[in-house]
């Protein structure tokens, strides 16, 4: 097994799936869906990603949150979905499943696909590229940087031939 270099707040769990202890691991499993929970499955294609984002933003739990939080959620979900379309499903297509739950001031998000694993079974570092010479400005590579910047508890698991990314988003505006 390749060892992942751990980023802040990141875990890679390569263990076989096992039942979470009762009452635990709710940040990783949105199993018992609460009020304001949502599950959506859609084809991993750009047009469908756009439609899914619009549908999710217009539905609870996101529809009820402040505009700033909704904007952050849209950025993160778009980047996560686009990465799946552009990387996991580059060889063959498949569906993306989003599960959202709201609990104790956070949105629990879980995104699954059945595509290719992350290279080395690790999440990309998403390091910031310094912006210097205009001719060398990056035109890509912002996705993981944005995801890491805007989420907490980012966790990647390869399970049963699929990928599962879970993370949390604050539902209240930070003072920053």
């Amino acid at each position: 097994m390749t060892a992942c270099r751990m980023g802040f707040g990141m875990q890679v769990d390569m263990a076989r799936p096992k039942a979470p202890p009762n009452g635990l691991a709710m940040t990783h499993h949105i199993g018992a869906l609460h009020d304001h929970a949502l599950q959506l499955t859609f084809p991993g294609q750009p047009e469908q990603v756009r439609q899914a984002l619009q549908d999710v933003l217009a539905s609870p739990p996101l529809a009820d949150l402040a505009q700033d939080i909704r904007g952050t959620a849209e950025i993160v979900l778009a980047e996560v979905f686009n990465n799946i379309v552009e990387h996991a499903y580059v060889e063959h297509g498949g569906n993306i499943t989003l599960r959202l739950g709201r609990q104790d001031g956070v949105l629990l998000c879980e995104v699954s696909d059945t595509g290719a694993p992350m290279p080395g079974l690790c999440l990309p570092a998403g390091q910031f590229q310094p912006l210097e010479d205009l001719a060398d400005l990056p035109e890509g590579g912002f996705g993981w940087y944005l995801i890491r910047n805007l989420t907490e508890g980012l966790t990647y698991r390869r399970l049963n031939g699929g990928n599962r990314l879970s993370f949390q988003l604050a539902t209240k505006q930070s003072g920053a």
Binding site: E47, L53, I75, F128, L131, E139, G140, F142, L146
Partner: protein, 112 residues
């Protein structure tokens, strides 16, 4: 990706009419921008983004590509960034690269 261009006094203002520049529309946006800016010799190009509610990293990459396409002789400036778009520019520090206007430059406000 519908874009409307209007030129006055050396400034080409291009207004995005759709509400997003995303992975599904980024290439089309870039091609259309290349075409519109290619039809003009205005040294300043202002992209009016006031209709754009959402821009993802593919969209950001496309805007950066247009900036690079016009350089070094011509400049791409931006105006009317909505809150989510502003956040993407701020987090990626691209707000330090572009000249960003709050509104559309004077003289264009009531035009078109």
């Amino acid at each position: 990706m519908e874009l409307v261009a209007q030129e006055r006094a050396g400034v080409l203002v291009i207004r995005a009419m759709r509400d997003r520049i995303d992975a599904a529309s980024a290439i089309q946006f870039k091609d259309k921008m290349r075409e519109l800016t290619g039809n003009s010799t205005a040294p300043r190009v202002v992209l009016d983004m006031s209709n754009i509610a959402f821009l993802d990293s593919s969209g950001l990459g496309a805007v950066v590509a247009v900036l690079k396409l016009l350089a070094p002789d011509r400049k791409l400036e931006l105006s009317g960034l909505t809150p989510t778009v502003q956040k993407v520019f701020r987090l990626t520090r691209m707000d330090s690269i572009f000249v960003i206007h709050d509104g559309v430059p004077d003289g264009f406000r009531h035009a078109g």
